[in-house]
Symmetry: C2
Subunit: 595 residues, 2 copies
Amino acid sequence: MYDAPIRDMLFVMKELAGLDEIAALPGGEDATPETVEAVLHEAAKLCGEVLAPLNAEGDRHPSHWDDGEVHASPGFAEAFRHYVAGGWQGVQHPQEYEGQGLPKLVGTPCVEMLNSANLSFALCPLLTDGAIEALLTAGSEAQKQRYVPKLISGEWTGTMNLTEPQAGSDLAAVRTRAEPQGDGTYKLFGTKIFITWGEHDMAENIVHLVLARTPDAPEGVKGISLFIVPKFLVNADGSSGARNDVQCVSIEHKLGIKASPTAVLQYGDQGGAIGELIGEENRGLEYMFIMMNAARFAVGMQGVAISERAYQKALGYAKERVQSRPVDGSSKAAVTIVHHPDVRRMLGTMRALTEAARALAYAAAGESDRAHRDPDAAARARHQAVYEYLVPIVKGWSTESSIEVTSFGVQVHGGMGFIEETGAAQFYRDARILPIYEGTTAIQANDLIGRKTLRDGGAVAKALAAEIGKTVAELGAQDGGAFKSMAKYLAFGRGAFESAVDFVLANAKRDPNAVFAGSVPYLMLAGVVLGGWQMARAMLAAQRLMPHDPAFYGAKIATAQCYAEQVLPRALALEAGIVNAKGDEGVLALPEDQF
Amino acid sequence: MYDAPIRDMLFVMKELAGLDEIAALPGGEDATPETVEAVLHEAAKLCGEVLAPLNAEGDRHPSHWDDGEVHASPGFAEAFRHYVAGGWQGVQHPQEYEGQGLPKLVGTPCVEMLNSANLSFALCPLLTDGAIEALLTAGSEAQKQRYVPKLISGEWTGTMNLTEPQAGSDLAAVRTRAEPQGDGTYKLFGTKIFITWGEHDMAENIVHLVLARTPDAPEGVKGISLFIVPKFLVNADGSSGARNDVQCVSIEHKLGIKASPTAVLQYGDQGGAIGELIGEENRGLEYMFIMMNAARFAVGMQGVAISERAYQKALGYAKERVQSRPVDGSSKAAVTIVHHPDVRRMLGTMRALTEAARALAYAAAGESDRAHRDPDAAARARHQAVYEYLVPIVKGWSTESSIEVTSFGVQVHGGMGFIEETGAAQFYRDARILPIYEGTTAIQANDLIGRKTLRDGGAVAKALAAEIGKTVAELGAQDGGAFKSMAKYLAFGRGAFESAVDFVLANAKRDPNAVFAGSVPYLMLAGVVLGGWQMARAMLAAQRLMPHDPAFYGAKIATAQCYAEQVLPRALALEAGIVNAKGDEGVLALPEDQF
């Protein structure tokens, strides 16, 4: 059902993301090649044997609400016990709080596998990871001690409570109130919606991290604070105590990820939900962004993960299904459909998009590790800036791509793809949430333009473009159609990317509507080109390693060629959608009543 | 819920598809401007008031199977009686069989409305239309008299029975047997799957048109015959008689179009299903193609229709939902999201894709009318060739576009789009079948390459490219950013299209794998460019008509500009995916075990 692509993962980790260098940085001692391989194989076993078989089951039997309680899908609670017993929740978290302290680059393939196996299930640990990150960064030492080890052990799980009915993308509109009680605690009142795993029966307690306003807080995003509101209050000895005043009043009926309960949580209907402040008042958004950045990267990995799973499923079908004779007349009999050129185009494009998104995300994880572990402060800052530039792209582009890949997955199956029992349709439905939650693609694109491109005057973007230029030059020194195609279209892509960056820098002030109309195309263009750059680096590495295994490395080059010819040229189309926009023309100028 | 875009439809019919000229051809006398408008308004009323409200209801309460009987979704049977009582099944069919004999160009917007209102419902008349076409073309006069009036009146409905478990796209693999009984009838034995509206309780009889093999038939597609197998045998007086030996053994559980029953039909389990031959033995595929071509065009219209509906839904939400302040600082308060540039980009692209697909389909319908009605035989042949070239594009491109448009429809709704009660997700699910049934996009693309491009040496394709060149020249004579963008990208698009046609012509024999690997990109490229051509013609017409209504015609120009900048440049990317393919490189050369 799911066979983790460990060899592909290790290739990317070692050849593109710099695993050996990262393992050599302070704190990387445990990431020996043997440990890393062992971790990946153990993760693959758990995901393949325990979690993947529950995926379709969870879709057929969604989590369900019953008078305030939510029961997880059949088998999920037991699988969760397996998961936490294996120590998987702590892979990337510090050893002092019972984590394993491995680099993000090593944790990332584990996250990918978990999400390939079972996206709905994986959301629970994903949100818990975010809660841990926020606590570690902004919590007091007492809060860290009280909550983090229990979250890592899986006795408790974590959630993020941002959205309210009137406050979706716009957190300035948050209205949930937090009233100080004079004893250091607060009472919270309000309604939060779209809370993933906001209520369930897989753990003994749930630690809600909640955005709310104190009575005298300023308007807008500068008046939001972050609170810990556990489902059960925590006793002095760390055990769970009385039930807190937070109730799950319903869960949503959704297009996909049906096993993952999406809760409406009501705070304070019986006098107020007791919460404690994290960090300082009015700095909640800043802390939440820590959590969100971790979560956004992880959602990007969900895009990679579901693409990989959809590819495996489609490939399995294409190798089994016999239909029609080959177009080149090489057989009088019908053949398996993997022999038909259009099926190869679809499978090749699925695989190329998946491998490129994986490579870009793992490379970003490597940047994050260097940003945390490099002994040189200037290097840390440089890597942090690159990581932050890449996060909205990993989130936005990988997830948008996953819509395309899972749609190809349905198409490869033909009519069977539309039948739910086949399973391809579930990936198509599940994937559709990815470009929406943790910030829609437009929100990612706003971040990419505002915080990541304009703020540094395009410095990171231009530095990346310069690196791409070096890779184009290296490609030029190689022979063969694959390298020629890649050199040609990566050079076009780099030009389109630079032209888009220049347009953004030149017009953001004088014509913001035009720039933001091109924001998502800019994000997609960056993804297409940076993903292509990683594929180019992959083919150069594969060429070097070819003698060790011509079949495996040859496939890397073939996949990169497919990317170069089928995906990279989209950069030209995306560029046109960015640089032609003018705020006083076309749909931007059209009066509302003419839409 | 659904407001038929009658004015947009009439604009396309008159300014782009040549309604006035077609009405002036022999047999077009009834298509007076007053009649056409009246027909459209009546259709809009039925679709908006009766059928659209049943759409979500049908999704929530799919048709269901009960011991061989299939019960249509609540309200469907009554709505079907309304539909046939209004004479809608007969709009395009001959008056001598109780139809209205209106041009296809007039019937097409009615088909669009029906499908916008309720795609699942519309499939029943769509298949009946196909059965009528096949009977009219290949049936004996007695068969026509016996079946067609009852199909037009809606007393009976029709189906197409092609697919078998081992015979999906490859009809050569059909195994259903038809044994002659010596009395002119045959007994049929076999299993047919994916039979849309193959069993239901909305009409008193169902006329199955079934592909099967007679005992001595040759292998492959040259040994397939077409049979009429009614659910109830038809008595000499035309009334329904004994139950025939065809049973619905199950219906499918599908991703979308849940109200439309997709039946598995078992023929001959109790001694043989009685059938009568249509036309001659072994010419079944040829007759079925008549039906399929009509059905393929209609499925293309389904793509247009569901795109329009998804656009209306997303637009309604965008005009109501208040979220975030505008990026240009024009308001301190949050605004409706239709003011945000990325939402405008999404809505604009949805609308541009929808209008272009509509324009291309209606133009094709106009070609079909001229092919039937032009007094000049050479002109008829010319129009028929253009129509046949356009059918796979209308089918393939409009339906692939509908995936993108309905996906945008979900995205515009943000998190609410993923909640089933919102309704946007249904369109996304329903649309997913469109590029699959009646021949997948790859099958359409094979047709476009084999029968429509290679067979005439690219003559029709080149003639269309020449016409596009004239339009580019006309655009050059106009001022303004919209015309400049369209002239630029339509010229690029035309170049890409010609380059793709040249590649196909040059390589089909010596490297068929390469050509067929680019078959779907070629189809999509043709759609993007020919759709762009229609948008260019629309903007020229709008410019001419501008003084009559600057707001309406200005919106046409703005939408065309959006198409020019956001959609047409894709031609460049698609071209790269076609002309670089070589059968001995990349994924085409990769050994199967390396996929």
